[in-house]
Symmetry: C2
Subunit: 280 residues, 2 copies
């Protein structure tokens, strides 16, 4: 099997090395950043470092486009231009509506693995990154059923759990479980850092939960600004709903209404149990 | 050394077992919940299970009161009534202003270890819970300097990093790094769970960051409602500042202002670096 990966950062690099190890695939890679491409070759993530998209995808059966959301449309278009008939082309972008609407090709299936970490870059790529991870696929009416099926099989062999969903539902879900959390984490670190400090005050300290909650704060702007922009409408709505929920909490707080505060907290406990089945 | 622990849940139980193992202390325990007390004895967290506060503290050199914030004032008062002259009495509550203001005794030093986890209860107590953890101490003008010093030494031997701070500053800090994060985590799970779902939709999935961020959502109401109520003014202010920051983000989002969105994200990255020194 021949696989091409365009963009060999954390996600693309992990796809590449996982495909080599688990599918015995021959993997061609390309990255606009020459250093990342070189590192991917040195680390054995890819078999071959190519000089451009056309060379990388020329004989590929499956192409993964794992570049930042901001350059995704352009990259996917270039890949589809050069990839063989009968190949499957997919991407790993965090927003899907705009991209999927821009492509009209039976070989294309939008995709998004939920497997990033706060550590971006080729040096963090690893073969087991997708073990057990949800991997959304957003086929359009134009997608060949066979292309979807072949991609699913490959993703399962990479350790992931592929899950077809509409681009709209994907983006709504991501607004809630990824983009909004990033925005709130940003607000949290800014709030904590804004506390005035005087001589003699102890150094900043917080418990493990604050560290967990703010781990994604200030995630790379080169990736995240585009995600925010592309999902602006749904993200704005999610922020709006959160503010309403915060205002509801404040009203109970201002009234010293312990019963209501408890009810709100229990509703959150129930929501969490609904999402995660009770486990933490 | 004789130590008494009132409330043998996660925090009290961990203090007890750590004191036994690291200070070779003889530890008396009491808990209103008979099952927790029994479990603490069975697990070897304490040497002796007592029938009440008076019995537990009668011959103690140091007393830790580790009960929920809502019953802290009452418990500390009862302990001070019964504890020997020359003993040191401290607590582990998450809010400090009200308690510290209510006590007028040289033996008392308010305290708060930043070491909880999302798993409450005696069964999760462990001797290393405080290793490297910040442990705020909020002595008042009435606190005997010697009591503060003895407590500090003990906490260091339990593995913690004791740090004196005013009760006001403590509560302001906790509003930002603990209470607000809990409120935001609650808002996040409610938002995610509110997404309508139809037959054929894939099961809920989110990446590891969502799980990290929402781990504390719906934390035990028996503990948290009282914390929220006792820190209502400072928590309300922190929520208010967060909402302002979210509205600022929304304005940039609505304008599609990528430059401004990037600046806000970079400000968060700088805030995070200021708090944590760049590490994640």
């Amino acid at each position: 099997m021949r696989i091409a990966v365009i963009g060999v950062g954390l996600i693309g690099g992990s796809i590449a090395v996982s495909a080599r190890e688990r599918l015995s695939a021959v993997v061609s890679g390309f990255d606009l950043d020459a250093r990342s491409l070189e590192l991917a070759l040195e680390r054995g993530l890819i078999d071959r470092a190519c000089a451009g998209v056309s060379e990388a995808v020329a004989d590929a059966g499956v192409v993964f486009v794992a570049v930042p959301v901001g350059s995704l449309m352009e990259s996917v278009a270039a890949v589809l231009e050069a990839a063989p008939a009968g190949s499957v082309v997919t991407d790993t972008g965090s927003t899907k509506r705009a991209l999927v609407a821009s492509v009209d090709d039976p070989r294309f299936v939008g995709g998004h693995p939920l497997a990033g970490t706060e550590h971006a870059g080729t040096s963090f790529a690893r073969a087991d990154l997708f073990d057990g991870a949800a991997w959304y696929l957003t086929p359009s009416a134009r997608t060949a059923p066979d292309a979807l099926e072949r991609l699913r099989e490959i993703l399962v062999r990479l350790g992931a759990r592929p899950s077809p969903v509409s681009a709209e539902r994907h983006d709504r879900l991501m607004a809630s479980v990824s983009h909004l959390p990033h925005v709130l984490a940003n607000a949290l670190v800014c709030e904590a850092a804004s506390m005035p400090s005087a001589d003699g005050d102890p150094p900043f300290a917080a418990g493990p939960s604050f560290r967990d909650i703010t781990r994604v704060a200030g995630a790379p702007s080169a990736i995240w600004t585009d995600i925010y922009v592309q999902n602006a409408d749904l993200l704005d709505a999610a922020i709006g709903r959160s503010i309403e929920s915060l205002q509801e909490f404040r009203a109970a707080l201002a009234a010293g209404d312990a019963v209501r505060l408890t009810a709100l907290n229990e509703a959150a406990a129930a929501a969490r149990a609904q999402l995660f089945g009770g486990s933490r």
